[in-house]
Symmetry: C2
Subunit: 323 residues, 2 copies
């Protein structure tokens, strides 16, 4: 990227993923200046922190950015922005809690903000994406699970212990036949996550004899991307899967509107790439179910961040978080 | 009240009710120094504003409070704190919208904050009542309807147009057989308002032959207070009415917890006077239905404001509102 097209200030975004840790220098409008990565599975969290910090130091030196970095944002599973710790993360190779913000601050002498992926996505959308200029919106992250980040009156909701915005675990009648990994029944996550969409497809395939491209895909290989591809080829069952999922999202959005009176509800993550396949039935169900105060006022959108870089951009935006 | 026991600063609270308008000088801990009232039904809103402002001027003079009033708060139906206007109020004698804050500021030269009753209740509880010292809580006002005020991270949620916190119109499976005045089905309001509780009582009376004190009350005279009185005398059907209502409130609270991670959910208004009759089943249903993150952390309380003065105290707290 041409240095003449970069806009200071600069931050560093770190995406602590289950497989790889990716880090990058990002400018104030979301251009990625330079990036690097390493496998997350190090023997100890100290070793991980050492690897990350020597990598960041080298990245800063290589790009002649010494003294120009405003802060570091880390997006990580179960990361609590209030405590600066990773709490009870089951899909990381180290024991929790981990005082992550402090560990990195001590090593680099830079301000560090950590947050879970959904809140990072919300701040990312507000800083560089579909929520630029909005003070009231909700981001729903549709992936392995369903997370959310709620911004109301310009402020990311945190709550007593940092657990505001668990909208993926609000329960709805449309999912009353689905058991959630949290032990409860009917969570939005059970229909709107990748696993939920797959379960809907299997249910629809099992309950009819209609021809479908999905029948030639082994069940363990079925995923939202393949269902999306089939839907775009006109496959009726695949289209119905997205219609049902979008309708559920619209009914959920109708309830969410009553909470924070948002300007927009933004779908983020792999599943959201289905775009209008989800948004059209979502908008229809929203209009049919929301309180009159909110109808025709709330926009349903998909992420404005480049898919491949969305997680790193979300993390890089965290130093802009207002607490 | 002894002037030696009053704590400055002072504000004026105005409760614009359907029947009477009550106004009072209140100190910073919720002592009412002096009050007055007049019938709300004046021919025009200008006449109402003139009556109120001459009354307030006299109250200030009589109490030697000139120059000591920090601001005026007005609690009114459909009052929007963001615009300062009363919008589409169906139970007031004048046409909406009414630029209420501006009308009173022009007449008195004092800062005026207006808000709907539920938000005034929330700020009242935070300033003088059960939410003193709390940064994260939800107030549910149980009366003719069900309103709510949500405080998250110390901030009263307002939203795009000031319509955040319409939790009385979130819909639930437990009310799927009840039509709401908003035109939708299943709103919390249909079970937890005074009318909703009366409907529950009639349904329970009609569906059994069990003896009940409520059978001797004509249906048009049945109300939550009479059902509460019967419950306290051990009437089984009356007790079941509050058990059902409390259980519904607990299930709703379990969903609300996932939104803002509150420290407390506070019941306010006439129906809330039933106290433990509602709170016990509410706590039980909350524990059985909330996501594990919130169980044993969220307190269910009733208002800490004196019942008769709650509305006026809520209004008087509005000048402390942080926007």
């Amino acid at each position: 990227m041409d240095a003449n097209n970069l806009y200071p200030p600069f931050t560093i975004g770190v995406d602590l993923g289950g497989t790889n840790t990716v880090y990058a220098i990002v400018d104030s409008v979301g251009h990625i200046l330079s990036r690097n990565s390493f496998p997350t599975a190090t023997p100890t969290i100290e070793k991980w922190a050492d690897t990350l910090c020597s990598g960041i130091t080298k990245l800063i030196e290589d790009n002649k950015m010494a003294g120009q970095i405003e802060g570091i944002g880390i997006g990580a599973p179960c990361a609590n922005a209030v405590t600066g710790c990773i709490e009870a993360a089951t899909d990381l190779p180290w024991p929790s809690p981990i005082p992550l913000a402090n560990m990195i601050e001590m090593r680099l002498g830079l301000n560090v903000v950590i947050s879970n992926d959904a809140n990072a996505a919300a701040i990312g959308e507000m800083t560089y994406g579909a929520a630029a200029g909005l003070d009231n919106f909700i981001v729903l992250t549709l992936g392995t699970g369903v997370g959310s980040g709620i911004v109301c009156d310009g402020h990311l909701l945190s709550g007593t212990k940092g657990f505001a915005g668990e909208l993926g675990h609000m329960t709805f009648a449309f999912a009353s036949d689905r058991k959630c990994s949290c032990g409860r029944t009917g969570c939005l996550q059970t229909v709107a996550s990748a696993k939920g969409i797959k379960a809907t497809a299997i249910k629809f395939l099992d309950s009819s004899n209609e021809h479908s491209l999905l029948r030639s895909i082994p069940q363990n290989e079925l995923n939202p991307k393949k269902i999306e591809d089939a839907a775009k080829l006109g496959d009726n069952i695949a289209r119905k899967v997205f219609e049902f999922t979008g309708e559920c999202l619209g009914k959920a959005a109708a309830e969410f509107a009553s909470i924070t009176d948002p300007e927009a509800i933004i779908l983020f993550g792999g599943v959201a790439k289905a775009g209008e396949l989800l948004l059209n039935p979502m908008r229809k169900a929203f209009s049919e179910n929301a309180l009159h105060l909110y109808i025709d006022r709330v926009r349903m959108l998909t992420s404005g961040l480049d898919g491949a870089d969305a997680a790193i951009l979300g993390a890089a935006s965290l130093p802009y978080l207002n607490h």
